[in-house]
Amino acid sequence: MSANQEMAVRYKNNFLKEVEQQVEMGEWVKMCMQCGVCSGSCPTNFHPGWEHPPQEIFMMIRAGKREEVLSSPSMWMCTSCYNCIVRCPRKLPITHIMHGLAEYAYELGLAPKVQPTKNLSKLFWENATKTGRINELTFSLGMYFKDAEGKINIGQGIKKGLEMQKVALGLLKAKRLNLFEIFGGHKCKDQKGIHAMLAKAYALESKRKGRHVG
């Protein structure tokens, strides 16, 4: 059974309960009073809007629309601007719920295949945890040499690379991008400790949420 099927069976189509237990800050979803302030405050919910803005997502969760929610590109549009959070009259941690839903969808393999923000997140975290610090060059190279599905695609990389050439040149000239980073660049000393610590953290979290250690 896939992780997705397993969860669907475990929660017997009670998607609200599933969200409450599996998604970061998911226990807040039931408190939404459907005022719509979040959707109206969200900068990326315009031209074009999200497929399902936050208010709608919360309603869909309560209406049990599991697949539709978890496969939606919507929550991946969140820029973490926190506009919704500071304005929500019910004080829902909307930003975190969006992140949490995205994380859960990704974990279950339901996130859209073509989702650049998903790739970005993965790349960033991998880059950061490898040495303990972000290597901006390999991070951006990685970003631009991957195609929409997250596979390395040199052709696309070159196209994007050309688009970004001016940007990179500008940064280089201003000494804000260091080509020598390709050889390692910034890193932490205790990388081993960091890796062990993170492995433990993953294990603990998976156990608490009843997920497979993957």
Binding site: K30, M33, Q55, M59, M60
Partner: protein, 758 residues
């Protein structure tokens, strides 16, 4: 009382009056033109020395009539309280110096204004007599409470605790009304998280133990006669026996009926036993007595329940209640908790279009969310009854899903409150005919079950013997009329108060508050009646309308127009005034075509003589004169407040306060135009559906009367703009001066009236 009249004028020089005005000249005007026998000036009239001076004149000089030229009549009322004398106040401070610039050019017109006001004050006081008070009073101190529900019980207990005996009449066999039928109530105390005990049993016990409260069960009011302080009420008991009680004042707390759910077959009511209204659910909860609530169809525990909000309410089609009852969202939240508190696994969904949870309901709502009640924003189209469960079809308004569905064992319809207010006495003959026709049509079409929507009842509650009808006038949809903003319990029948859902839809917290407020007002009313004093808004006024029957033509305008049903007819068909029912609005006085109604301190003459006293400069003076008749409840205070802010306005206006626009007799306007005034402004409260008029109907009746002034203007060959009717609210402090100035300019542009000097 000494028939000898002696007039005295007191002119104050304080508050800057002495610096801004030529007070000696004012004194001269009072003496020569005003014919005041005593004229005194004082540096600070309202201080102890000034007041002592006046008192000394009353005691030793035989002064009977007092004209005070100082500040607004709304200021220093305690200092200038001379109850045994006729007192006129003329307003030189708020009316003159505070609204005029302190400049050399303005000096002359400001002084003109002040001198006119002194003339007017003198003229007014000469036309007045000191109110002698109403001898026709009653002194009964017993409160009658009609209705033994939560509102009525609260009113009875509160009044009794304050020391007044109470007669409580309940038509059913038990106290408690709707509240007694509830399993639990919406919480009224912190932390507003869970349903609470109704407390009704405890209240009923308190009433039973209270020797001050006499309870009639299974009883109705057969007849209510009299007036505040001396009502005589006949109570019909089940046995057919009639008891008579002497009553001081009355509280009607007759509550509501639930909207008839049989009118909602599309929501499954009547088609499945598993569709109930909120009362039906309370009955199930009571039967369950804390255990699982059982499904009526087969007696199995309910595993899923759906609440349909606004069932037959907030309807725009005309078929159902157009209004929001305001309590049923909280009631559904409470009922949803009956399920969640006993078993969190029960699927509990509330389908609403707007969730309205006034007061502390917001906390209650949040608590229900915490308990896992699902709130779904949607509009229910239909409920399809199945064998043991139902399908609720709704339009999900957030997901815009027209075909959303929920299956539930039990469906609860949140229907609303229909007031129990008795018959609609204001219904016109045509409306009655229409209603009868509709009923006849419906009787034929009973198969369709479509009964026309009716708000009022066929049976009277109070059976008043008043000429204007047997019950309290209604406002809309059967709710009794009350001044919503300022005097919520006050009805249009003095000494009779309505409280609770008969007045407007409300919940128990609001009903208790209502009951307490109404009890206090009712006590105040009977105390006032005993002293012959008016109730609000002229509370304390000892004057009352007197009619010179010799001149009366029996036109009945006064008996029809009195907004408070104070005037009956005697056996010779002359108007019969019930002074204690009267609010002293003067509407009857304004209505009387032969002007035979007057008050001792307010009459056609007290105002008319002021109008005539103003000095009208000739056509070539470039000094037009504009008469303002300003309602003393809102417009006059607004002018006073404008003055406090030193908002300036034209020196051409002369303001006379009136009790109500309804008291304005058209003769004043005709006289003013004939005397050469160039314009007349009438300032009164808003009328109509959202009226602000303190006498409810006064400003509407006054305006109707004044709408006829157009003919007069036409006959006189005058422009219609020379009379202007203005709706003024007490907040128009900045607007009013601007409007006055614009009007003054308009008059200047129009040119002077040709009627000067006649």
């Amino acid at each position: 009382m000494a028939e000898e009249k002696k007039f005295a004028a007191y002119i104050c020089k304080g508050c800057g009056l002495g610096d801004r005005l030529d007070v000696d000249a004012l004194a001269g005007v009072a003496q020569k033109e005003g014919k005041m026998q005593v004229v005194r000036q004082h540096d600070f009239l309202c201080n102890a020395d000034g007041v002592a001076m006046i008192k000394n004149d009353i005691a030793n000089e035989g002064v009977t009539h007092i004209m005070i030229a100082a500040c607004s009549r709304r200021a220093k009322t305690e200092a200038f309280f001379f109850p045994n004398n006729a007192v006129a106040r003329t307003n030189l401070r708020e009316g003159v110096i505070w609204i005029r610039p302190d400049t050399e050019e303005a000096r002359e017109t400001t002084q003109d204004m002040a001198e006119d006001y002194v003339r007017m004050g003198c003229a007014e006081v000469k036309a007045m007599t000191a109110p002698a008070g109403n001898a026709n009073t009653g002194s009964n101190r017993t409160l009658l409470v009609v209705g033994g529900g939560l509102t009525g019980m609260t009113a009875a207990l509160e009044a009794s605790k304050t020391g007044y005996p109470v007669v409580l009449v309940e038509k059913s066999g038990q106290l408690g009304g709707w509240a007694a039928k509830l399993w639990k109530r919406i919480p009224a105390h912190e932390p507003f998280k869970a349903p609470a005990d109704t407390g009704i049993a405890d209240m009923a016990a308190q009433i039973a133990a209270d020797p001050n409260i006499k309870v009639y069960l299974n009883s109705t009011i057969a007849k209510t006669d009299g007036a505040p302080g001396r009502f005589v009420v006949q109570i019909a008991t089940e046995s057919g026996a009639v008891s008579t009680e002497d009553i001081g004042s009355i509280i009607q707390a007759t509550g509501f009926d639930l909207y008839d759910a049989n009118r909602l077959p599309h929501l499954g009511y009547g088609k499945s036993p598993n569709v109930v209204d909120q009362a039906g659910l309370e009955a199930l909860a009571k039967a369950a007595n804390g255990g699982p609530i059982l499904r009526p169809s087969d007696g199995k525990p309910v595993t899923s329940v759906a609440f349909v909000q606004c069932a037959g309410q907030r309807d725009t089609s005309g078929e159902h209640l157009p209004y929001c009852s305001g309590y049923c969202c909280n009631a559904s939240i409470k009922q949803a908790m009956y399920f969640k508190d006993s078993n969190p696994a029960i699927d509990t969904t509330v389908i609403y279009t707007d969730l309205r949870t006034p007061g502390n309901g917001e906390d209650f709502y949040r608590s229900a969310q915490e308990k896992g009640v699902i709130f779904t924003k949607g509009k229910v189209g239909s409920v399809a009854p199945g064998g043991n469960n139902c399908v609720v079809n709704f339009h999900d308004l957030i997901l815009d899903d027209q075909n959303a569905q929920i299956e539930a064992d039990l469906v609860v319809l949140a229907t609303g409150q229909v007031p129990n207010s008795g018959i609609n006495i204001d219904m016109s003959a045509e409306e009655k005919a229409e209603e009868a026709a509709a009923e006849a049509a419906a009787a034929e079409a009973t198969a369709s079950g479509a009964q026309p929507l009716q708000f009022s009842k066929k049976v009277s509650v109070l059976n008043l013997t008043y000429r204007q009808g047997a019950d309290i006038p209604q406002f809309k949809w059967g709710f009794t009329d009350s001044h919503f903003i300022c005097f919520p319990y006050e009805t249009r029948r003095t000494g009779i108060y309505t409280a609770g859902p008969v007045r407007r839809p409300m919940d128990m917290v609001q009903a208790r508050e209502d009951a307490t407020g109404a009890a206090l007002k009712a006590i105040q009313a009977l105390e006032n009646a005993q002293l012959g004093r008016a109730a609000h808004p002229r509370s304390g006024d000892l004057s009352f309308p007197k009619v010179r029957l010799e001149g009366c033509t029996q036109c009945k305008r006064c008996t029809v127009e009195c907004p408070f049903g104070a005037i009956d007819e005697d056996e010779r068909r002359f108007p019969l005034f019930n002074e204690s029912r009267c609010r002293r609005c003067g509407t009857c006085m304004g209505a009387c075509p032969v002007r035979v109604i007057s008050f001792e301190n307010y009459s056609v003459d007290t105002v008319g003589s002021q109008i005539k006293a103003v000095d009208i400069p000739d056509e070539f003076s470039e000094k037009p004169r504009i008469l303002i008749l300003a309602c003393e409840n809102d417009a006059y205070p607004a002018l006073d407040m404008a003055a406090m802010k030193r908002n300036e306005y034209s020196a051409f206006v002369r303001v006379i306060p009136v009790r109500c626009l309804g008291s304005v007799n058209t003769i004043w306007i005709t006289d003013a135009l004939n005397a050469g005034y160039d314009g007349v402004m009438l300032m009164g409260c808003k009328h109509g559906e959202d009226y602000q008029c303190h006498f409810v109907k006064g400003s509407e009746l006054g305006r109707y009367r004044l709408s006829k002034v157009g003919d007069t203007l036409k006959n006189m060959n005058l422009e219609t703009e020379r009379v202007k009717d203005l709706e003024v609210a007490i907040t128009d402090i900045d607007n009013l001066p601007r409007i006055i100035n614009e009007y003054a300019q308009q008059i200047v542009d129009m040119g002077m009236s040709p009627f000067k000097g006649f």
